[in-house]
Symmetry: C2
Subunit: 200 residues, 2 copies
Amino acid sequence: MRSLAKGDDTRSSILEQALELSAEVGLEGLTVGTLAKRVGMSKSGLYAHFESKEDMQRQVLDAAASYFVDAVVSPALKQPRGLPRVRALFERWIDWISSNERRGGCLFIGSATELDDRPGPVRDTLVGHLRDVTGTIARAAAIAIEEGHFRDDLDLDQFAFEVWGILLTHHHFERLMGNRDARKRASVAFAALVRRATPA
Amino acid sequence: MRSLAKGDDTRSSILEQALELSAEVGLEGLTVGTLAKRVGMSKSGLYAHFESKEDMQRQVLDAAASYFVDAVVSPALKQPRGLPRVRALFERWIDWISSNERRGGCLFIGSATELDDRPGPVRDTLVGHLRDVTGTIARAAAIAIEEGHFRDDLDLDQFAFEVWGILLTHHHFERLMGNRDARKRASVAFAALVRRATPA
DNA sequence: TGTCAATACGAACGGTCGTGCTATCGTGCG
DNA sequence: CGCACGATAGCACGACCGTTCGTATTGACA
């Protein structure tokens, strides 16, 4: 039996810890030694699961993405087509940021600015995931147009730009600035955005 | 004569280089050795100008803030009170981000997410500067209300939240995602925000 | 039970990190 | 001119970085 390899098991628990840790210290701040200590194994034993640190970072991002899809995207897609689904996407997402929030916040957002001037495979991986994410918003908005919930001349990319922007801003104000109203302000901004998008 | 100390001279040229460098690699990525090489002096010689690395980071942030005030805030304050001044603030700011953009982008934005989970004096310094900055927006908006350009029930903090958010988002899409439309999308969002703020 | 891969470990590598100490340099003052 | 002093350099430190390698431990199958 190939399927029950023990290695895959440890690898995934490594990645789980890596997610927590990198949410605290950033993706660049994630270090082999610290992670090994956290997981409770030796540096070399841990490192054997990856071909390089870069590879490790990429795998962490992929793991984060799959968690994200499970927690945010999939449940939201079960909502009725159109505006409800768009709204669910926004709400669940902002909840996700706040719940991961005790420690670290959203890894994507955290990695975004630390990678924006460091070209390479890790950054490419992140950009890919973020494109998926804004793509998902745009697609949901397109459906909302079909359903007649949104104006049919709505600029989908502009809409996605602004939604993702509100999430970004919420994260910024809540986590860095310690603004307790962040959540409310984000909701207000989102409501205004939706109003702009609805037919006259 | 106390005023013409040579040290102050080198210190400011160190900070200048530090601004460039930290815009590329982030504030945390800024390292004594690399900076020394860049400035063309020894690690210890450079380090003698600061009492710790943390102190260095704080000074870099302060230097960035004063550059920012000179390039963005002061000129904008010369514009007529009210909406023109608010608009000038936004425009100059976004220009500033784009011009620093060849290498690095805005240090404040760059540092924001890497410091959001690392409490301490450096983070406090950053938060202070950012509060100044959103405060400036809110104050300009307050004047716009006085002038009758904005609705008098406008929520100032909400307005500042969203303006700063648009800047943040612009930076994100332009620098990380490489979106060539970022500037245009930011303008559209800002225009909609202003429309919401103008009296019915 | 013996075999063989898969897995984990300890130690070590060259490098760089932040940070001190000591010595040298350059320059304006007495 | 020489001296004092501020600015810079040289060097060393312990710690940690990513990475490699040889070795021990494990667990599945014969």
